[in-house]
Each structure stands twice: as structure tokens, then as C-alpha cells.
Symmetry: C2
Subunit: 326 residues, 2 copies
């Protein structure tokens, strides 16, 4: 474990425990099967990044009430719902080192459990009564489903541009993290300036987070990653390292890369050759550079808050995105 | 077309047109594909029962503002989202006489478009700002997903009881219709007594509606039904006509019925023999009787409202459930 991870876990210990408790307490399924299926992914070692960011955002704006833990579960439930449906959509087989839920319980059950988690999120938001938070949360889900659809439409499309990639990851990843931060500010009745700052922090962190995640598919081992390396490419999902390299490769290398990607059952040998081309044409380096840029933007966005332990933690979480696993 | 249907369509003409317009106006997808996939089912001749009931419930409580049309779309979008996911879960092939969406666009896209419609519903509810309505709407979705899961768990289970059947149809069908009526009363600031009356009307109508629907699977032709006759049984989905007949059949007939149901590729001949047993053991008659009972309860529930065109329409809609297609 990195030192930074140690430090974050130590500083956020109480919050993370409270989040874990709230996640168990607020799921409230009517059926044991729902608890089992949802629990399989929900309690499989997720980092609780989204609920933690909501709680920290509220705290840095002076929040002193007790709705934050409960409301924070919304962001983990939404995230889990989205992962359940995405793993079906992507035909994934492993997640966090475990077989995906639909390989155990079948697609039909998992589609419905995802629906339950979506609905549960919105019920919890409604129970807390913050109408502006509810609006943000409903919009997040609209964006996430559309981001996923857009990504699905563009699978195997070699003209998928960096701009389109940014639009897809904004919808499917950034708006949820952004929303968690905004809602934190909202429930603390923060002035507009602070809410905007935290919203910007979340948005930029979201971009960085997804870029780092997309890099891992090319720079990690299956054991470390907890899912298959090269899985994105096997689905024809083009991410920034590939988009950048394709745009900069000479025609011979580009056509080799296209051939590997089109042949979804590429060999380990060909995959390694492709990763070498990602390095040769700067796709890996460029993506790292962009991730760093967005982390910097995230950190700059909260510059206006005065120093505190909470601010330090928000800055550390931003840095952690970069050292996570590459 | 029956006289009653004619009468309802004439009386509700303006409302139905306004609903149609609102459904187009409020979908607001970012992607054309979403509009296309959602529209395939959304604009395929649905009866708009749920939005109509919300509008009539508001009106009978004296509602005079202009949020009702927009808010009513929530109940059609939720219904559509649920049908999209259910058709995947059930492996259905035809709906309203057309190929199901997932047979055209594939399961992944349709799962995500269903998610979009779910999210869109809750966004619209949030936009109108009625917090109590939002709470009801989020709870409806929780119930619907759990009702579907429970039904899925019980497929092929010959011990599925009438009580469990009632619980499943309450969650998957009745709560949505009940919610539409409750929300109508809520936005009209109706006194508790009127809200409860309309909630009871919707709940009981929902039961009757689902029973009538389940009957059609045994009493209709594929052409009239718009989907395959016997489809429920092919999925192992036991509904009231079958549950009642199984419980009352002698052991020889019961084991014949079980054999037909277990063999999902039963012949037309065997299906007809099974339907004859449903008649012989009173399963068809009992289900009709129960549907009538719940329609009567629905009508009795709104007894307290003074006579008006709106009340007449609510009573007619209740009766229509029974003559719909059997």
C-alpha cells in the first residue's frame, strides 16, 4: 500500500466506518435475494470514494447536521447500480477480483437489482427532503445512462475522437463525482462560490479518475487490476491512450493496431505489441499528462477554502487518483 | 371497439392529446438513439391509462394549475422503463404486436435506455418540486423492481400461492397505478380522506388490471393480444388461473398440468388441453370473479366524491378493465 493511501485511510477512518454502517442500514431490500446480489458487489472492497467526497464537501462548507451519512449512500448505491448494469452491457466476467454478479445470478436478476438500487438511491434522496439535491441526483442518472449508451454506440469506431471521449467520460463518470461534491455543499447551505468550487473539484477529479482507470487496462496485471487486462479493447472500447496513439501512428502501425482491435480474440503477443505502440506514439504518456492536468485543476478549484484537515484530505484524494495503480 | 372504449376515448380526448404532447416534449434525450429506442415502445399505441388516471385524480380533487400534464408523463415513462427491462428479463419477443426493442437494438442498449427512462421520470418529478410526490414515485420504482424479482424467483415453482401472487402483482402493477392516483390527489392538496380514496381506487384497479391481463394469456388469440398466447406459461410464470386450477385439480390432472408447464416447448394441443383444465377446475372463472371484485372495490372507494364527468370517467375506466379483451 502506498504511503498516501495509508494516510488517507487513517484520516478518513471514522467517516469510512460510518459510511459502511450507513450502506448496510439504508439498503432495506424486501427480499433476501436483493440483499445478496446487491451485497456481492456493494461489499466487495469498494473505496467509497463518492460518499466520502460528499461528506468531506459538506464538512468543508461547515455542515454540522446528521443527514450526511445517509445521503452519502446514494452515491455508492448509484455507482453500484451502474456497475451492475455496465458489467452486463460490457459482457464483463471479473470485477474487483470476483466473478461479476450476472455470472452467478444471471442477467435478468441483476438488471432488476440494478433497478432497485437506482430506485433506492432516489428514495433515500427524497427521504432527506433536499429538493435541489434530488434534482442533481436524478440528473446524474440521466447522464450516466446516456454516457454508457454513447460509449456503446461508439464501440469499434476508429473515428472516436478525444472530444467525444471526454463527453462520454464526463457523463458516465465525472457527473457522479461532481454531483457528490455539489450535494455536499448544498446540504451545508454553502454560498454559490463554494458550491461551484466543489463542483469543479469533483468534475475534474472525475475526468482524472476515469483516465487513470482507462490507463490501467494497458499498464496493469490482471491480479492487480481485479479484472481482465485488455478488456476494454476486447469490447472495442477505445479510450484515450488508444485514441491518441491511433491519431499519431504512421499508416502501417495504425493499420496493425486497427487489425488487433478488430480481432477481438487477439493474442497476448499482439496485445503486448499494441501496448508498445501506445508507448511509441505517446498514448500512455499523453493520458498520464492529461490525468495530472485534471488533478491539478481539481486541486486549484478548492484553493479558496482555508486550510483544514478536510481540505488536506480532499487534496490528498485528488493526488491519490494518480498513484492509485500506475 | 366496445361502446365503453368509445365513450372513454371521447370523454378523455383532450386529456389524451395533451398527454401525448407532453410525452414527446418531456423525453428530452441527448442522443437520437435513445429517442428511437424509447420511442419504439413509448409511441406504439399504449393506452396512457396511468397518466390519465393521475390527471383525473387531480381534477376530481379540484386541481386547477398546469403541472399535471408534465407530471403525468412520469407514470408512462416509468411504465415504459419497466416494460423494456421486463421484456429482457422474460425473454419476450413481441409486445403490442411489434418486435420487442431488445430484438432490434440488443439487450445492452435497451437496459440503458430503460435506465434513462427511470432517471428521466425522477428528474421530471424533481423539476415539479412536489417532495411528497417524489417520495411516492421513488417508492413505486423500488416496489416494481422487487415485484419483478420476486416473480422471477418463483418461476416454475408449483407451490407459488395465491397470497404470493397477490403480493407480486401489488408490487409490480398496482403500486404504479395507485401512485398515479395518489400523486394526482397530492398535487391538488386534497384532504387525506380523498387522497386515501383515490389511492384505494388505484390499488384495487391495479389488481383487477393485472388479473385481467393474466387471463388474456389463456383466453385470447395472438393477433388480438399483440403478444404470444401462452407466453407466461412458457416462462414458467404461474398466474392466478393456473394457481387456482392446480390447487383444485385431482392428482392426475395436476400432474398433467405440471408436466405441460415444465416442458416449456409445449405443443398447441397440450396448451389447449391445459386451458380446458383451467376451465374445468374453475381457474378462469375464479380469476374473472376476483377481477370483478377488485373493480367493485375500486369503484366503491371513490363513492365519497360527488357526481361529475370526471367521476363518471374514473368509474368507466374501472369497468373497462373487465371488458378490455375478454
Amino acid at each position: 500500500m502506498t504511503d498516501l493511501k495509508h494516510k488517507i485511510l487513517a484520516m478518513a477512518k471514522d467517516d469510512l466506518e460510518a459510511i459502511e454502517e450507513a450502506l448496510l442500514l439504508n439498503l432495506k431490500p424486501h427480499l433476501d435475494l436483493v440483499a445478496q446480489v446487491a451485497g456481492h458487489l456493494l461489499f466487495s472492497g469498494g473505496k467509497r470514494l463518492r460518499p466520502l467526497l460528499m461528506i468531506l464537501s459538506a464538512r468543508i462548507c461547515g455542515y454540522k447536521m446528521h443527514d450526511d451519512k445517509k445521503l452519502s449512500t446514494v452515491f455508492e448505491y448509484l455507482h453500484t447500480a451502474s456497475l451492475l448494469h455496465d458489467d452486463i452491457v460490457d459482457g464483463a466476467s471479473i470485477r474487483r477480483g470476483r466473478p461479476v454478479a450476472h455470472s452467478i445470478w444471471g442477467n435478468p436478476t441483476v438488471v432488476l437489482v440494478g433497478d432497485f438500487l437506482l430506485a433506492r438511491s432516489l428514495s433515500i434522496a427524497a427521504e432527506t427532503g433536499f429538493i435541489n439535491a434530488i434534482k442533481i441526483i436524478a440528473k446524474i442518472t440521466e447522464n450516466m445512462s446516456q454516457g454508457e449508451i454513447q460509449q456503446l454506440m461508439k464501440k469499434g469506431d476508429f473515428d472516436f475522437s478525444e472530444k467525444e471521449y471526454m463527453e462520454v467520460i464526463r457523463r458516465k463518470t465525472s457527473v457522479l463525482i461532481q454531483g457528490a461534491c455539489s450535494v455536499g455543499a448544498l446540504i451545508a447551505n454553502a454560498p454559490k462560490k463554494k458550491e461551484t468550487a466543489l463542483s469543479e473539484y469533483g468534475l475534474n477529479l472525475g475526468y482524472a479518475f476515469q483516465m487513470a482507470d482507462d490507463l490501467l487496462d494497458y499498464t496493469s496485471d490482471t491480479d492487480v487490476l481485479g479484472k481482465e487486462v485488455g478488456a476494454d479493447l476486447k469490447e472495442g472500447k477505445l479510450t484515450l491512450p488508444v485514441i491518441f496513439a491511433l491519431n499519431n501512428a504512421d499508416s502501417k502501425d495504425r493499420s496493425f493496431m486497427e487489425k488487433v482491435i478488430k480481432n477481438k480474440d487477439f493474442s497476448v503477443h499482439n496485445f503486448k505489441a499494441l501496448v508498445e505502440l501506445l508507448v511509441k506514439y505517446g498514448g500512455i504518456q499523453y493520458t498520464k499528462k492529461m490525468a495530472v492536468k485534471y488533478v491539478d485543476r481539481a486541486k486549484e478549484a478548492i484553493y479558496l477554502f482555508k486550510n483544514s484537515e478536510t481540505k488536506e484530505l480532499l487534496l490528498d484524494v485528488a493526488d491519490y487518483v494518480l498513484v492509485r495503480r500506475f
